[in-house]
Amino acid sequence: MDSRTNIGRVRGLGSAKHGGEHWLKQRLTAIGNVLLTTWFVASLFMIPSFDQAALAQWLAQPLVAVPMILMIANIFVHARLGLQVLIEDYVHDDGLKFAAMALLNFYVIASAVFGIFVVAKLAFTGAPA
């Protein structure tokens, strides 16, 4: 422990070079989401049939599975960054904030991995009987 003030401790060290990271990632994933969700919504309107066999065949195509996986990953990164700001702004208790952030991380990672696994399995092994 030294007795210097906080500002004295960091002065002269330069920035951590992470100041704009969260902001920039939020915008980059936002642009990605504009493209990927436009593709997804347009696809929903163009799918000829909504029965399971036709949908499984549609989803298993590389040109559908790849953008779908990208969309799931991109949305959950964007959601993680956005919900983090909600927690930081509205949850003031330190313990609750820690718990909420941990829960958020579990939620987005588990959900993203689940979604990507479902699409990848269908694309690699084909539609189940």
Binding site: A30, I31, A79, G82, L83, K121
Partner: protein
């Protein structure tokens, strides 16, 4: 000394009112939350139901889309719940999209003039409501046989 009646007043509860610029800010957060939770959970259920096979997809349809004539009470209630979810998610999607595009424009430093800022905040709301209505009409006529 006589008081000048035209001098500016500081913001106070009596003159405080909601503007589109304020509403769009909190709507961006609320709609983002709806999309991240209800929207993504429904999407993942749909994808895993497709991947799970015909039986799994039939369960999804019975609870989310339509239980048909011989549906249980729980399934019919669930159908109505998911119709509300679909409406909320659809509106949230278009609202978050329009509001997000507005943010990207603001991020490059444009659109901060008071009237311009107010105008595009209102436009984002109108566009989102219009697009939601369009999708609702399309779904109602094509899938639900309402129109």
């Amino acid at each position: 000394m006589a008081k000048n009646p035209n001098r500016p007043l500081s913001p106070h509860l009596q003159v405080y009112r909601w503007s589109p610029q304020m509403a769009i800010s909190i709507f961006h957060r609320a709609t983002g939350f709806v999309l991240a939770t209800a929207g993504m959970m429904t999407l993942l259920w749909w994808l895993s139901a497709i991947g799970g096979g015909a039986e799994s997809y039939a369960t999804f349809q019975q609870y989310v889309v339509s239980a048909g004539a011989d549906g249980t009470v729980l399934q019919v209630a669930s159908n109505w719940f998911f119709r509300l979810v679909a409406l909320a998610v659809t509106f949230s999607f278009f609202q978050h999209l329009a509001s997000g595009l507005r943010h990207l424009v603001l991020d490059i430093g444009a659109g901060y003039e008071l009237k311009t800022n107010r105008l595009w905040a209102s436009v984002a709301f109108v566009a989102a409501i219009f697009a939601t209505a369009l999708v609702a009409l399309f779904v109602a006529s094509r899938f639900l046989g309402v129109l």
